[in-house]
């Protein structure tokens, strides 16, 4: 079977000693930043990107992917132990996980979280392995019109699924697209919006934008209100869950895995949405619905399975279509471009080692997490005790050095400061920065596909409706917008995010 041969390629790549090391480093770092509140995976991946330039593409991506799903797990550790989710995707885990910790069952909650993540990660690895090739096969037939419509769909989905106002999210996407156009236009060679600054001719490196908007702005926001972090559940007496815990968790883990895998594939989806949806679903179908919010183990198992599954399946659109479904995937695409690889369906054919190596490494990474995290919980607890006022200057230093190392231009450092201020203004105005970053990455690509499609059609814009796949994608995008603005749906949407 083809899949087996492909997985064998992946195994050979992922099990090479150096890739095992990068995978391990990735999940270790990911867990660390997940544990540290106020340092997210986007900022971390942006910070470490320059360090991965020297690596082969597959090693770079394996490590960056490890950071992403490691962070999901680390985020739940703090959610359980101190009721402070390290990552937004762990918010729902805190609801029941922290209650369990208060009841002296922190060990069981953390163990179930690890087991659920591992089961979900294993299942999601196979979902990716089976779904990606056919999807890439379809995408190989795509022409410029389909790509343009696909990007429209991806951006619309990211708006509909973003938190808060649709209108402002739309504005952020368009602003991101515009900012992405800064630099030399590939078709005509004209330097646009560069103010005759030589360094701007190549555009603003997306790492600079991501570091400023997600890293620096986040630090300032954290400094608004410095809360004392208290470890309530320091005593973890019994680590393993009881037989009863395991029995109760089986169905929620499976449901969470299924739902998470599905939501991860959707553009705009990923770990955050998956964990919220899984918790809501469990609350509906569980026979112990009344226990939810009071330390129900199902309330930990389902969202933990879902966020891990979602984190992994969100690689599908990125690896096969070259479309990022969330800011982390946008950074991955940026990393590929910097490695000289054009993301899209050709990656699977031209770079089988990269494609399958990354997929198999996800499973290995999940194994690392399972084996490593339970014994290391004591260490993570100590990491939590590092006060923020010692932490953020260090983050600022590493961010500045990282940005400087991109192309040894001090302008990049100053631009990061500028984007930090900009990002903070956006936060204060309730404008989500995620759609901005997606637009930023896609801006030049969208322009290129639009131009090509319009040249092919001799200036006739109906080409986007005449080609069936393109028309279908635009129809889905329109449907999503209509559905989101309908009063009934927008109320449920507001409620879903409020929970």
């Amino acid at each position: 079977m083809d899949i087996l041969a492909n997985l064998a390629t992946g195994l050979a790549t992922a099990f090479s000693p150096e890739n095992l090391l990068y995978c391990f480093l990735g999940v270790l770092l990911g867990t660390l930043v997940g544990v540290l509140p106020g340092l997210g995976p986007v900022a971390t991946i942006a910070m470490l990107l320059p360090a991965t330039f020297a690596l082969p593409a597959e090693s770079a991506l394996i490590m960056l992917a490890g950071i992403y799903y490691g962070a999901q797990y680390g985020g739940s550790t703090t959610a359980v132990l101190i009721n402070l989710p390290g990552e937004s995707s762990s918010i729902v885990t805190a609801l029941d996980g922290y209650r369990m910790a208060q009841q002296g069952r922190a060990g069981a909650a953390l163990a179930i979280a690890a087991i659920a993540s591992f089961v979900a990660g294993t299942a999601a690895t196979f979902v990716v392995a089976f779904l990606a090739p056919p999807l890439a096969g379809i995408a190989l037939e795509f022409q410029a019109a389909e790509y343009f419509s696909l990007m429209v769909l991806g951006l619309v989905a990211s708006i509909v699924l973003a938190q808060g106002s649709l209108l402002k999210a739309l504005g952020m996407v368009v602003l991101g697209l515009l900012l992405g156009l800064v630099g030399t236009d590939v078709t005509s060679g004209t330097a646009r919006f560069a103010f005759d600054i030589r360094e701007l001719n190549d555009g603003i490196n997306f790492v600079v934008v991501a570091m400023g908007v997600f890293g620096v702005a986040e630090i300032v926001r954290n400094l608004e209100s410095e809360r004392a972090r208290e470890l309530v559940a320091t005593r973890i007496s019994r680590l393993m869950p009881t037989r009863e815990d395991m029995r109760r968790s089986v169905a929620p883990i499976l449901r969470g895995t299924g739902l998470g895998s599905l939501l991860g594939i959707l553009p705009g989806g990923g770990a955050l949405l998956a964990s919220f949806a899984a918790y809501a679903l469990e609350k509906k179908v569980s026979p112990r619905a009344a226990e939810f919010g009071r330390g129900a183990i199902e309330g930990v198992a389902a969202p933990e399975a879902a966020n891990n599954a979602g984190a992994q399946t969100s690689f599908i659109p990125m690896l096969t279509l070259g479309i990022p479904s969330n800011p982390v995937m946008a950074l991955m695409i940026g990393a590929l471009i910097l490695q000289g690889i054009r993301p899209g369906p050709n990656v699977m054919v031209e770079q089988p080692r990269l494609f399958w190596g990354v997929i198999v490494s996800m499973w290995i990474g999940n194994l690392f997490l399972l084996v490593m995290n339970l014994p290391l919980i004591g260490l993570w607890v100590r990491v939590l005790a590092v006060p923020y006022h010692l932490l953020y200057p260090a983050i600022l230093v590493f961010a500045s050095v990282g940005v400087l190392s991109l192309s040894n231009a001090t302008l990049d450092v100053h631009l990061m400061a500028l984007f930090g201020v900009f990002g903070y203004v956006l936060v204060k105005l309730d404008c989500e920065p995620a759609p901005l970053l997606l637009g930023y990455i896609l801006g030049p690509l969208m322009e290129e596909y639009l131009r090509r499609a319009m040249t092919l059609s001799r200036g006739d814009p109906t080409i986007f409706l005449q080609r069936p796949i393109s028309a279908a994608m635009l129809a889905v995008a329109l449907l999503a917008v209509v559905a989101a603005v309908l009063p009934a749906v927008s109320r449920t949407r507001a409620k879903a995010f409020a929970e």
């Binding site: 106002s165 209108l167 402002k168 739309l170 504005g171 368009v174 602003l175 697209l177 515009l178 156009l181 236009d185 078709t187 005509s188 004209t190 646009r192 919006f193 620096v216 630090i219 300032v220 926001r221 400094l223 608004e224 209100s225 410095e226 006060p387 923020y388 006022h389 010692l390 953020y392 200057p393 260090a394 600022l396 230093v397 500045s400 050095v401 400087l404 190392s405 001090t410 302008l411 450092v413 100053h414 990061m416 400061a417 930090g420 201020v421 903070y424 203004v425 204060k428 105005l429 309730d430 404008c431 969208m446 322009e447 639009l450 131009r451 319009m454 040249t455 001799r458 200036g459 814009p461």
Partner: protein, 151 residues
């Protein structure tokens, strides 16, 4: 007419301002036609769309109520930004160690919990760490001593 949502009003103005700025700047680039788009085509279309969104957001701020803008950490924002700018200005002139230390010392008072001694120790520690790891260890081409120090 009364502003009911200050955040939306400001966000709308932000979109309008960016849209207008990009539109003005894009006038320098050839527009082309739908069939052969010049470098100005896509930016012009996008800036007009952005201004439309901005206008709609401004209008909505008079209709749909919202929360006021609150808790602006002005001090933290200024100090953190100043720290990064200082790093950028000093790296070539004073070298990596001093630039890192300056960044830490400028940004540390942004936290109310920071103490002068801990900030000094952190600045010295991180400065030394960066020189050792990034320049000596990883061989990155940063000046250890800048032009001011004859490096």
């Amino acid at each position: 007419m009364r502003v009911r949502n200050a955040k939306d009003l400001l966000a709308g103005c932000l979109f309008l301002a960016f849209g207008a700025a990009f539109l003005v700047l894009a006038q320098d680039y050839e527009l082309g036609s739908a069939r052969r788009m010049g470098p100005g085509y896509f930016p012009v279309v996008l800036s007009i769309v952005l201004m439309g969104i901005g206008l709609a957001t401004v209008v909505r701020s008079f209709v749909v109520p919202g929360l006021p803008v609150r808790d602006i950490a002005g001090r933290a924002l200024v100090l953190v930004t100043a720290g990064i700018l200082l790093f950028g200005l000093l790296i070539e002139r004073a070298g990596l160690g001093i630039a890192v230390a300056a960044l830490v010392l400028a940004a540390a008072p942004a936290s109310r919990k920071a103490r002068p001694l801990s900030a000094l120790l952190l600045a010295a520690g991180l400065g030394g760490f960066c020189v050792l790891v990034f320049v000596k260890g990883l061989g990155l081409p940063f000046p250890v001593l800048g032009s001011w120090l004859g490096g």
